[in-house]
């Protein structure tokens, strides 16, 4: 399943970030989005164009187009 399809407030685990490309994958990995990390979509803003995520107790905001390239379990 894509991270962008994950229901709000449901927990999941990141499975694959390789579709993001090397650079963005590196940036997200260091901020807590990596294979095996527990992740939750806290909120959707602007009709779902932006997602507020929580991973390891940290809230991050990413674009939905990028979340579509992250696979979760």
């Amino acid at each position: 399943m894509k991270l962008s399809d994950l229901e709000t407030n449901k927990y999941s685990k990141v499975q694959d970030t390789s579709k993001l490309g090397k650079e963005l994958s590196n940036i997200l990995r260091l901020r807590g989005i990596y294979r095996g990390a527990e992740i939750q979509v806290k909120r959707r803003i602007y009709g779902g164009r932006l997602l507020i995520l929580e991973t390891n107790g940290i809230q991050l905001c990413i674009r939905s187009v990028d979340a579509q390239r992250i696979e979760v379990l």
């Binding site: 940036i27 909120r43 507020i52 905001c61 674009r63």
Partner: protein, 661 residues
């Protein structure tokens, strides 16, 4: 002895730096506040401390993170003070692991441990220290400052070294050994093993630090290892190294944090506040309201017009006591009223300085309020709020951070773009920043607008000028994005910090620091500018000018004045003021006052304000743009483009105003 202060963004590094050095480095509640290094002595010691930008890794992903990588690789230092956010140890320790691999003496400060305890968890620093093999202490920048200073300073005397060797698996371990061998003949500041690890991770600065002739051999090792790691672990080299480090961190954190109770209530409250602040409509109205309040407090008159009130007080004080007293002193030491020196001192320097000094309270209040926005974590939420709009024109939500910073001063705003990962968005932000009026320009607008309006009308007009600037930023960014970097990809990743109370001491410090900087700036650019203006008005082609119309400045101003005739301010005084504004924007007000400039009509005055708000970045901003872009092409665009835009925009507005009024 020199020490590096390193840590993730938004862990309180700059706050601790300020505590240790008693300086007032900019502190914010979002990542990216520090974008260059600051070096200061630790208070009452001979130790120097280098405050670096926050970074998640020694392997840089943006320009500010590159500053950290280059400092670690090339600077001379005796040890590292690594600041961690005690609430997010797992992520923070990823950088710690890289620093431990360096094999340099290291002291770890688990900062904000008090916030962790408030959330119902306890941190066992002794166990963490044992697991990492180096000293770990709890710190909090809001606690007893001298106690924290003594605690850290004492530990610096006995810092421990524990060169961490992580087992990255057979293939990566072998690659590290092979690259180390290739690097054997290289002269390096740090261990060859560390450079080998960084090269494998893709650290461009580490690659740049070695002799180019050794690169083909290293590339061969990387290529072979990449294939093996992909085949066996289905990972990239850096991905596998990351996971191995996480394994180490999980072990190091075992039993370190004890949770007593969950703290859900405040999280729910914060979530509600965030929902409102980042709501596309309500959030935008709140943002406009916040800006309006800031302008009213900083520059308005009447209710909440604190800046206007204080400016009035200073004006009265200067008029009553200072100006006449200085004129009397000049006469008592033998300077006659029509002499060159008397005019230079009293009509040039003193008039110019007093014209600007009255604005000090306004600038101070503006900077204090911007510091409050940063401190509470509002800036990051504004970045989220505006990403959707900004991404449509080729910018990024993060562009709003330099834009807000530009309300204060364009120079730090240009530097603040370093935290943007995409080159395209960074350059576009830099090229459009000059359309945001800086803090010292606004009093000039207020001065001109104040001639024919008062109270809230001035604040609302100032807000409209800012809105015009923002609209021009958006349109220009869109045009630039269609013309350049069309292939560049874009990404927006921002951490949402918790909402915190601003530190009052810090806000006052920022205000006073800015007042000092403002006066220092006035003391250089302003005095130089005023001396130039006075000399150019005192002398003319025929020697000492009999009147202003016989002066050099008249001839220079008159030379370009016809260009501004269609805009309604084609006078030599207005043209001269605009020329002096290139040196520093505050010179515009001083020149206008010195020359007793009169725009004639309200529409002419408004046209001048619109033109001035868009026309050209000041000299120091141009220098910052050249420094950041390292390109004459972009610097030339940053100067030439605003001139054209300002002219067209002012002309259009003038025509509309002439039709309407």
């Amino acid at each position: 002895m020199r020490f590096i202060l390193a840590g993730n963004p938004n862990v309180g590094k700059s706050s601790l730096f300020n505590v240790l050095t008693r300086e007032t480095v900019h502190v914010g509640n979002w990542g990216g506040v520090t974008v260059s290094e600051h070096v200061h002595k630790i208070h009452k010691t001979d130790y120097s401390l280098i405050d670096l930008p926050g970074t998640y890794s020694t392997c840089p992903n943006s320009e500010d993170e590159g500053v950290v990588a280059r400092t670690i690789l090339n600077a001379d230092y005796n040890g590292i003070v690594n600041i961690l956010d005690a609430k997010h140890l797992k992520r923070n320790l990823l950088l710690t692991v890289q620093l431990l691999e360096l094999g340099k003496p290291i002291l770890i400060c688990a900062n904000m441990a008090d916030e962790l305890e408030k959330r119902g968890s306890l941190l066992d620093v002794k166990r963490l220290s044992d697991n990492l093999g180096v000293d770990v202490i709890k710190t909090s920048a809001v606690g007893d400052k001298s106690l924290i200073r003594d605690q850290i300073t004492n530990k610096l005397k006995e810092m421990k070294t524990n060169e961490l060797v992580i087992n990255y698996g057979i293939d990566i371990n072998r690659a590290i050994d092979e690259i180390q061998e290739i690097l054997a003949i290289e002269h390096t500041h740090v261990s060859k093993r560390w450079i080998a690890i960084q090269i494998l991770e893709g650290n461009k600065d580490a690659i740049d630090s070695i002799t180019p002739t050794t690169l083909p051999k290293i590339e061969k090792v990387i290529s072979e290892t990449t294939k093996k790691v992909k085949l066996i672990d289905d990972e990239t080299i850096e991905g596998l190294m990351f996971l191995k480090r996480l394994e180490f961190i999980d072990k190091a954190l075992k039993g370190v944090i004890t949770r007593n109770h969950d703290h859900k209530h405040s999280e729910e409250q914060m979530s509600k506040v965030d929902n409102i602040l980042t709501h596309p409509i309500i959030g935008t109205f709140i943002f406009i309201g916040v800006l309006l309040l800031i302008f009213q407090l900083s520059f308005g008159d009447g209710v909440l017009g604190l800046g206007g009130f204080l400016t009035g007080l200073i004006e009265t004080f200067l008029d009553t006591y200072v100006i006449d007293a200085l004129a009397n002193i000049s006469q008592s030491i033998g300077l006659y009223e029509d002499s060159f020196l008397y005019g230079l001192v009293n009509e040039g320097i003193v008039s110019g300085l007093t014209a600007i000094l009255v604005f000090v309270p306004q600038v101070v209040i503006l900077f204090m309020l911007l510091a409050v926005l940063d401190g509470i974590g509002y800036t990051a939420r504004v970045a989220v709020l505006f990403d959707s709009v900004l991404s449509k024109v080729g910018l990024n939500g993060k562009s709003i951070v330099p834009i807000i910073s530009g309300f204060g001063c364009a120079v730090p705003a240009v530097m603040a773009t370093r935290m943007m990962e995409s080159k395209k968005e960074r350059i576009l932000t830099i090229l459009t920043l000059s359309f945001i009026s800086c803090g010292v320009s606004v009093p000039v607008y207020a001065l001109i607008l104040g001639n024919f309006m008062e109270g809230y009308a001035v604040s609302i007009s100032l807000l409209l000028i800012y809105l015009l600037g923002i609209i021009v930023v958006l349109v220009s960014a869109k045009l630039f994005s269609l013309a350049m970097f069309t292939e560049e990809s874009s990404c927006f990743v921002i951490e949402i910090p918790p909402i915190r109370k601003p530190q009052l001491n810090y806000v006052i410090h920022v205000g006073l620091n800015q007042a000092r900087e403002f006066i220092k700036r006035v003391g250089t650019f302003m005095v130089i500018g005023m001396v130039i203006v006075f000399v150019l008005t005192y002398f003319g082609p025929s020697g000492v000018a009999k009147s202003n119309n016989d002066s050099f400045l008249y001839f220079i101003g008159s030379g370009i004045a016809p260009i501004f005739k269609p805009l309604g301010f084609g006078t030599w005084e207005a043209s001269s003021a605009l020329i002096m504004g290139f040196l520093a924007k505050e010179n515009v007000a001083a020149t206008l006052m010195l020359l007793n400039a009169d725009f004639g009509t309200t529409i002419n005055s408004i046209s001048f304000v619109i033109f001035m708000s868009l026309y050209i970045p000041c000299l120091s901003t141009v220098a910052a743009i050249k420094g950041e872009t390292k390109s004459w092409k972009y610097t030339s665009i940053a100067i030439g483009y605003p001139l054209v835009v300002a002219y067209i925009t002012t002309f259009v507005f003038r025509v509309i105003l002439l039709i309407l009024l």
